[in-house]
Subunit: 404 residues, 2 copies
C-alpha cells in the first residue's frame, strides 16, 4: 500500500476557498496513492480559542484549555472530509483519540510517543483518504493534550515516520528561501537542503518549518518537502540527508531574528558553580537562554558574562537575577533589547574555510559592529544592533552569492 502524508497549515485551510483548494490537492494525490492529510486549525482559529479561554482565566487550567483549543483542528478536519466526500473521494476525518496518537502526560507542550499505525492501515483499507488533526493527541490518562505552537508539522512528520511514508508540508510559501524575500528581493528558493541545515535555519528564525518536526524527520530519516498550496505544481524544497545532496554549498541560507535581548552581568566571581546559580533559576522560570559569552577580567578573578534571551522574557529574567544578586555576586547588571541575531548556515562550512572572514569583512565594510559571535560546525551567529538587520542580511546574501 503506497501512502503519502500531506500536511496543510492554517492558511491552507483558512477559508472555504482555501479548504477547497487544498482538498483538490488531496483529491489529485489520492488518485496515485492512499493519502493521510494532517491539518492545522483554520488560520486565526487557535488564537481566537486561546483568547476565549483567557477571558475566563488568566492561566486556564491545562485539561480544559487543551479540550478547548483542540476543537480547532477537529473542525477543519471534518470540513475538509465533508468537501472530499462531496467530490466522491472516499474520505473520513479522525479524532486523535480514535487512532490514537499517544503523547507524553503533560498538557499544552506534549510530545508524541506513539501512533497506532495498525488502526491507520485498517482504515486505509476502507478509505482512500484519512484526515487527521495535527497539534494534538491523548495522554495515558485519556486526556486531550496539545503539542504547543507549530505542533502540526511535528504531527505530520510523526505520522509519516510511523508509516514509513513521505511527508509533504503544504504552506503559503513556495519553499525554503536563502533568506527572507521581504528583505532581499532576489532571495532564491532552495531546491534541496540537508536536515541539519534546515534544523539550524528553522531554529534561527526561518519560519517555514517547525524545528521539532525537522529534528524528528532527521532522526527517522523521513523524506520531507515543503510546497505551496497556492501553487501545488511548482517544485518546493526537499529536505533530505546530506548524502543525497550532490554538492554542498558553503552557505545555504541566512536567517535573522529581531526579538532578541541581551543581559550582561559585570564582575562575576570566576569560580565553579557560579554559572548554575545564574542559569538554574532562569531555566526554572522557563527562560530559554541562547548565546552565552564570558570574558575573564585582567586580574583573572572576575568575569563579564553576557547572554541572549527572547525579548519577551527580559523583564522576568532581570527580576530573577536582581533578586539573586547577593547569591550570585555580580557588580552591575546591564540589559539591551534593541539587538538582533543573524545566522549564516551551511554544511559546506565544515570543509570550506573563510566563511567567518567573508562575514567579518562584509559587516566591517558596511560599518556594522558585531557585539557577540558564536559558532557551531555548520553555523555562525552574530549579534548586532537591530537597526542594521536588513542591511546586514542584504549585504551577506550578496557576499555569499546566494542569489546565484
Amino acid at each position: 500500500m503506497k501512502i503519502k502524508v500531506l500536511k496543510f497549515g492554517g492558511t491552507s485551510v483558512g477559508s472555504k476557498d482555501a479548504i477547497k483548494r487544498s482538498g483538490n490537492i488531496i483529491n489529485d494525490c489520492s488518485k496515485k496513492s492512499k493519502v493521510i492529510a494532517v491539518l492545522s486549525a483554520m488560520s486565526g482559529e487557535t488564537d481566537r480559542l486561546i483568547n476565549l479561554t483567557k477571558s475566563f482565566a488568566k492561566s486556564p487550567n491545562p485539561i480544559d484549555f487543551d479540550n478547548a483549543i483542540s476543537t480547532g483542528e477537529n473542525l477543519s478536519c471534518a470540513l475538509m472530509s465533508i468537501y472530499l466526500n462531496n467530490q466522491k473521494v472516499k474520505s473520513r476525518s479522525l479524532l486523535s483519540w480514535q487512532i490514537p496518537i499517544i503523547t507524553s502526560p503533560e498538557h499544552m507542550k506534549s510530545r508524541i510517543l506513539f501512533i497506532n499505525k495498525k488502526f491507520l492501515f485498517k482504515e486505509l483499507e476502507k478509505f482512500d483518504v484519512l484526515i487527521i488533526p495535527g497539534f494534538q493527541g491523548i495522554n495515558n490518562k485519556g486526556e486531550i493534550t496539545t503539542l504547543g505552537r507549530g505542533g502540526s508539522d511535528t504531527s505530520a512528520v510523526a505520522v509519516a515516520a510511523a508509516l514509513d511514508a513521505e511527508c509533504t508540508i503544504y504552506t503559503d510559501v513556495e519553499g525554503v528561501f536563502t533568506t527572507d524575500p521581504n528583505i532581499v528581493s532576489n532571495a532564491k528558493k532552495i531546491n534541496k537542503i540537508s536536515y541539519e541545515e534546515m534544523l539550524e535555519l528553522a531554529s534561527q528564525g526561518a519560519k517555514v518549518l517547525q524545528t521539532r518536526s525537522v529534528e524528528l524527520a532527521m532522526r527517522k530519516n523521513t523524506k520531507l518537502s515543503v510546497r505551496s498550496s497556492l501553487q501545488p505544481k511548482k517544485n518546493g524544497t526537499v529536505i533530505t540527508d546530506e548524502k543525497s545532496l550532490l554538492e554542498n554549498k558553503t552557505v545555504s541560507g541566512i536567517t535573522y531574528t529581531k526579538d532578541e535581548a541581551k543581559i550582561t552581568l559585570s564582575r562575576v566571581l570566576d569560580k565553579p558553580g557560579v554559572s548554575s546559580k545564574i542559569f538554574g533559576p532562569l531555566a526554572k522560570g522557563n527562560i530559554n537562554v541562547d548565546m552565552i559569552l564570558q570574558n575573564i577580567s585582567q586580574d583573572g578573578k572576575f568575569a563579564n558574562l553576557s547572554f541572549t534571551l527572547p525579548r519577551g522574557d527580559l523583564e522576568k529574567a532581570l527580576k530573577i537575577l536582581k533578586k539573586d544578586k547577593s547569591k550570585i555576586g555580580y557588580k552591575k547588571i546591564i540589559s539591551s533589547d534593541n539587538i538582533s541575531k543573524i545566522s549564516v548556515v551551511g554544511v559546506g562550512m565544515r570543509s570550506h574555510a573563510g566563511v567567518a572572514q567573508t562575514l567579518f569583512d562584509t559587516l566591517g565594510k558596511n560599518k556594522i559592529n558585531i557585539q557577540v559571535i558564536t559558532t557551531s560546525e555548520i553555523k555562525i551567529s552574530i549579534l548586532i544592533d537591530e537597526k542594521h538587520t536588513d542591511l546586514a542580511v542584504q549585504k551577506l546574501h550578496q557576499a555569499f552569492k546566494l542569489h546565484k
Copy 2:
C-alpha cells in the same frame, strides 16, 4: 454521594457573561452537592457549524458532519470548566468518548443507550463538578454521534436517570407557562405539572423542554424541573408523576403551533390497505403525519381523507402523493398551509366532563371555525384558520380560568 444534574441551554452559555452567570449557579450548587452540568453549544454556534458544513456539501456525510457539529458543546464545556477552575471550583470538562456515552449506531439522530456511571462516580471522587457535553455520544464503532435538535435536554435527563439524581434544566424562561406569554399577557407559570401533561405540551408546541427528554424522565421517573438561568432564585416548574400532584387541574395549559399544513384527498376508495399506500411512502420520505381524519361518503364506497403535517414538508408530500395518484386512487388533492393547531391539555380531563363543550362554546362565540378535531385522554387538539390563532388562545385561556 449527593449528586445534582444541571442542564444549561444555548442561551445560558451563549456569551461570556452568560457562561459566568451559569457558572455561578453551578458554583453555588456545588457547595451543597456534587454537580454534573450538561451543556449545549453557545447559542447560534450549532447553526453556524451546520451552515459551514453545508458550504462544502448539500448533504454532508454523517461521520464528518457529526465530528464537525460536536465541537460546539466541547468548546462551551471547556470554557465553563476554565471559568469554574478560576473560581477555585474543582471542575473538569469531559468529552463524550471519555465517559463514554454510548448511543445507537446512526448519526445525526442517535439515541442514548448507555452511560458509564462508574466512570462518573470515579471522577466525582476527584472533582466537585463535571462538565459534560449534551447532544452527543459515541456509537459502538467509536464514531461521534449526535442526538438531533434539542438533544441536550435528553442527555441531561439520561445522565440524571443513570445516576438516580434530580435534573434541573436551566433555560431563558422562568418555567413552563399555561400558554405563550407573548400572546396572553396574564399567562401563569405552572408550579407543578405531571409528566404526561408536560409531554403533551412539549409535543404540541411548548418549546421549554424537548419531548424526548420528558418521555425519558417519565419512563425513569426522574425528578425534573425547569428554571431560569437569569433568575436562579425564582422557583420554576417541577415536572413529576401524577401522584405527587395534590390536585389535578382540569386544564393545565394551552399550546399552539403555526407551522401546520393540511392535505385532503377526495373520494379515496374505502377499502383495506389504502391507508398504508398513502402513509407508507410519506413515512419513507421522513414526513411526520400528525392528525388524521376520514369521512365516509354517503354511498359508503368512498372516503375523504384529511391529515396534517409540518408546513415545511408540504411540497414534498404533495409530490409523493401526486406521483402515487393512480396507485392510491383518489379524485382530487387539496392542500392548505394557512392553518394552525391549538391544543388544550390537562390530566383532569379524565374525570372532569365539559372541557370539549367549553372549547366549542368559546370558539363559537368568537366566530372561529373548527376544521378538524382530535382528542386523546388528556388533550383536545383543533385545527383552525391561522389568522385566528392569537384570539383563540386568548379566549380559551380565559375560559379555562388559567390566569387564576
